[in-house]
Amino acid sequence: MDTLIFLIVALPLAGFLALLAFGKRIGEPFAGYIASATVGGSFVLAAISAVDFFRGIEHGRTVELFEWISSLGLNATFLWDPLSAMMTLVVTGVGALIHIYSIGYMHGDPRYGRFFTYLNLFITSMLLLVLGANFGVLFIGWELVGLSSYLLISFWFEKPSAAAAGKKAFVVNRIGDFGFLIALMLIFAKFGSLDFGYVFEAIHENAAIISVGTATAITLLLLVGAAGKSAQLPLYVWLPDAMEGPTPVSALIHAATMVTAGVYMVARTGVLFELAPVSQGVVATVGALTALFAATIAIGQRDIKRVLAYSTISQLGYMFMGVGVLGLVGGVFHLVTHAFFKALLFLGAGSVIHAMAGEQDMAKMGGLRKKVPVTFWTMLIAWIAISGIPPFSGFWSKDEILAIVFNRGGGYYVLWAVGILTAGLTAFYMSRMMFLTFWGAPRWDEGVTPHESPPSMTLPLVALAGLSAVGGFINTPWRPALEHFLEPAFELVHQTHLPAPGTQWVLAIVSVGVGIAGILVAYRRYVARDTQLETGGVWDTLLAGYHVDDLYGRTIVAPGKTASEVLAFTADAKVVDGAVNGVGGLVKAVGDQFSKLQTGLVRSYGVGILVGAVAVLVWLLAAGGGVF
């Protein structure tokens, strides 16, 4: 059975290597077939391997591939437990559907083979991330998904905006990685190992092994990493721009899987978060604020993909709220359902864009209902699901999170209220998007003749629509199957549970009411009154995302640039480079240079050494206590 676990990773890896070597020669469409087959194969293997979890006769195991740096608890080891199995199923399942969709979507692209090479690299990396049994393997996956994300965002690097977006994603993620790496270092300093099992068992046996302060520091640093990857405040800025990548990439990486890595990481390290109540509050608050903030921006967007991008940020905020209050199952549950309906929304949007010959501006859409019926009906399901209308999937997971947050009481009531408000906004902006796209009179550019996409694109839509519709039933309050399934993975964590059934009913009615209200308001505004896309005043501010990019540009990027220029030109270029260029100028006679050398540079370098030497001397003497 252990071989199966390796094969889950090995299949997409083999696909990646094969395409890397022969991708160009294989070409269209076989490169797409190969890539899809390997990911689909991984899904089947993962499903087979997960059967024992469903039957409840296995609790998880580690599988060692080879020893890497065993003295640090860093080996090439996989952890196969319900949580990693769940993530693997989502990654390979949604991944396979999106691979199939891409076969049609990328049709005719000159770098068709390269695209699937990157996609397979991404799947491999993501599997490493979720299957790693220690922070080392997790980190390798973490960095590799960052790399593949970068490569795919800037896939059309001829477009300057795509190249810039890739760069931005890269830089912002580095900031997150700072925090993550320092957290890993602290964990290693504290436990002497980076192995999940070892660290969590050590805490379980004796919680006093780590002080609350240290645990808080570690978990807050982990949060920085998670916020970078999962696009939370204040590091969310890269995700909207990441929409420059091909739409299947937005669906797979920047909605369904990679951006949930932060949520997964917090859930995986729940044992640590349990020791740090402050961090729990911070995670939940960051999540709630992000959810609300991004939802308001989504209202003002004109580009259909940017609406979905801000929506993703907002929904990730919900997941953070969930895992933040130690409702780990709730967070992971929403991760799963969100993967279904958001992937569907993105692929649907891609289908619309495809139909409109590349147009992404909703101002030029409208009245597409009849033209792209399959796309319309499948997106309709996703829309209802994300709006939180039962019995579709989004309702169950979002309400589970909100109920758990409510059950924490105290200040968390405020977060619950923020969550409810966001639910209303979500229903509103999603409805706005749907109405502007599919209802009303056509506002198409001349010459655009919308047409439905090929079956390779619509079939994944249908499959995802089915999952979005019924996916919520994997974890209802009456039959919490997912909770039982995940139990072994979270057995060391004391999770927050749902409130009493009566309270749950009340909360559910409130949130459904808010959701319906959001849809109705949007209906009145955009269908009944046929309001066109708004401009001016507050709408421009929303469209520009509250000008946060400008703010960052002025306060962080510009001073950073200035500093590096100062460094480049004063500290090095003027003193060193300038002198070298001057001295080393080929026209100068050698003797001339000698005099310059002697009067200028060497002496100043020598003084540098001398000053350093004196400093070392003084310090040593002070430290040794010999003289001073």
């Binding site: 080879f66 020893e67 890497w68 740096i69 065993s70 003295s71 640090l72 860093l74 080392g136 980190f139 390798i140 960095e143 800037s154 690097f157 190249a163 580095r174 990685d177 700072f178 790496l181 320092i182 270092m185 602290l186 290693f188 300093a189 590096s564 460094l567 480049a568 500290a571 090095d572 060193v576 480079d577 070298v580 001295v583 080393g584 100028g585 080929l586 100068k588 050698v590 240079q593 050398l597 540079l601 060497v602 370098y605 020598g606 540098g608 050494i609 000053v611 350093g612 030497a613 400093a615 070392v616 001397l617 310090w619 040593l620 003497l621 430290a623 040794g624 206590g625 010999g626 003289v627």
Partner: protein
């Protein structure tokens, strides 16, 4: 007891013999580069083999200290796993570096023989630094190597900046050597010995008594740190490095950059963690400060560079800082230091070989712009550059990552968590300039003037580069053979 123990100094004998042979072959027999190559290759190969034999010998009979034969019986040479590993590393690095830069030898014509001989002499000097059990001998090794390299730095006489590099290197290097020597003198004043081991050595001195007035000793230690800190280009003693690396013949820089670092750190580890192990609480603080300063200064300045070789020089300052980070842990940091040093040396050689292919073996400036679109001009070279840059940046699955983990773990274990964090933050920031090369090579179009110009690399450079790249990758994925070796390579 007047028998000479040949085995511990066999490498020196071979290298010096080889250097003399090459000169004779060139001058008296008028033999060409092919002969020099055979002699140099044989010499270096045999010397490397000697390292294996020495290792087995230690397996059998244990570490040994060898004395001068006279009545004073001063310890001179030590043969322990540490010296054998370090010596082998110096020889390997010297061999690969010479191979990678062989193109220069051809272009130098007659003077090529002098160049090869000087390289062998430099390697011999560096080897002496690693194996010496006596500070005076260590200094002699240091000077032998340094003088040879001063000459090498100025070897392409037709370029003024090469002269400038040589002079600068010479003047500042002499200054540092003087400080090192003065440190030895003061150590002698404080302990009555210049030898590390032996019944009258420094280690024995500390074992017998505690120093109550450590002033003189501490000044001695400080000056030796400065002297060696200059050689390994740790901040704030690093300023020579960018000028020299840029000015010296491109093909000679790999040896200057890597070999000196290996021997310098080996000497530093021997002096600090063995001879002055008793004062570790004093010097570790200073070393930690130098480490932090090197890492930060190296990274910041490297970001600001527009020339590849200067960038590498500053990144070398940062790498010196990472290695100093391991050193703060004393002897328990030595394995981490060795692994980092061993893998970094080959990354450095590989990168400088690429630089010398792009900018010419004779050297000179190497603007970053000339790496634009490298992937289109030479995919293989771009791939090698990418692997090496990722390794220097410490990306997992390259040896650079394992090395960084090792030095940080050592520092953390020694209680220097802050230093590890400073290093880590700098390492992540440093990714910027390593990855910039990859972006330039892969995502930019080549300069139209250069686009059609083919990149030619002689087989020798390609072979050396292949070795460096495969080492880097191999020890990243399967580091444990080297990890096992380094964990044994402790000083006596």
């Amino acid at each position: 007891m007047n028998e000479i123990a040949f085995l511990p100094i066999a490498a020196e004998i071979l290298l010096l013999g080889g250097a003399v042979l090459i000169l004779m072959a060139a001058v008296t027999l008028n033999l060409g580069p092919r002969t020099w190559a055979i002699i140099a290759g044989t010499t270096l190969g045999l010397s490397f083999l000697v390292a294996w034999v020495q290792w087995w010998r230690i397996d059998d009979v244990g570490s040994q200290i060898h004395y001068t034969g006279d009545f004073l019986r001063t310890p001179m040479v030590v043969m322990d796993y540490f010296s054998v590993f370090g010596g082998g590393l110096v020889i390997a690095a010297g061999g690969i570096a010479l191979l990678g830069g062989w193109r220069l030898v051809g272009s130098l014509e007659k003077r090529g023989a002098e160049y090869v001989a000087l390289v062998l002499l430099a390697v011999a000097g560096l080897h002496i630094m690693v194996i010496s059990a006596n500070l005076i001998l260590m200094f002699i090794g240091l000077e032998t190597a340094s003088i040879a390299l001063y000459v090498v730095a100025g070897f392409t006489r037709d370029r003024p900046d090469s002269d400038e590099a040589a002079i600068k290197y010479f003047l500042l290097g002499s200054f540092a050597s003087a400080l090192f020597l003065y440190g030895i003198a003061l150590t002698y004043a404080a302990t009555g010995s210049t030898s590390i081991y032996g019944p009258t050595g420094i280690v024995a001195f500390f074992a017998e008594r505690a120093i109550t007035e450590p002033g003189v000793l501490l000044i001695g230690i400080a000056l030796m740190i400065v002297g060696l800190g200059f050689k390994v280009s740790a901040a704030p003693f690093h300023q020579w490095a960018p000028d020299v690396y840029q000015g010296a013949p491109g093909a000679a820089v790999p040896l200057m950059a890597s070999g000196v670092k290996i021997a310098g750190f080996a000497a530093m580890a021997r002096v600090l963690t063995v001879a002055f192990d008793a004062s570790i609480s004093d010097w570790a603080q200073v070393i930690s400060a130098l480490a932090a300063l090197s890492v930060v200064v190296g990274t910041l300045f490297a970001i600001a560079q527009s020339d590849f070789k200067r960038m590498l020089a500053y990144s070398g300052v940062a790498h010196a800082g990472f290695m100093l980070t391991a050193l703060v842990a004393g002897q328990s940091g030595v394995p981490g230091l060795w692994f980092y040093l061993g893998t970094y040396a080959f990354q450095l050689i590989g990168t400088f070989i690429i630089a010398s292919i792009i900018s010419g073996a004779a050297g000179g400036a190497s603007p970053l712009d000339s790496y634009r679109g490298l992937a289109k001009r030479s995919p293989v070279l771009a791939g090698a550059l990418a692997v090496l840059m990722l390794a220097m940046g410490g990306i997992p699955l390259t040896a650079g990552f394992v090395g960084k983990v090792g030095v940080f773990a050592a520092a953390i274990d020694a209680g220097y968590l802050w230093l590890a964090i400073v290093g880590l933050v700098s390492a992540v920031a440093g990714l910027f300039f390593y990855l910039r090369l990859i972006v330039l090579a892969y995502f930019n179009d080549p300069d139209p003037a250069l686009a059609d110009e083919p990149i030619t690399a002689p087989r020798s450079s390609r072979l050396a580069l292949a070795v460096c790249v495969s080492f880097t990758f191999l020890f990243g994925v399967l580091p444990w053979p080297l990890l096992n070796l380094t964990s044994e390579a402790l000083p006596l």
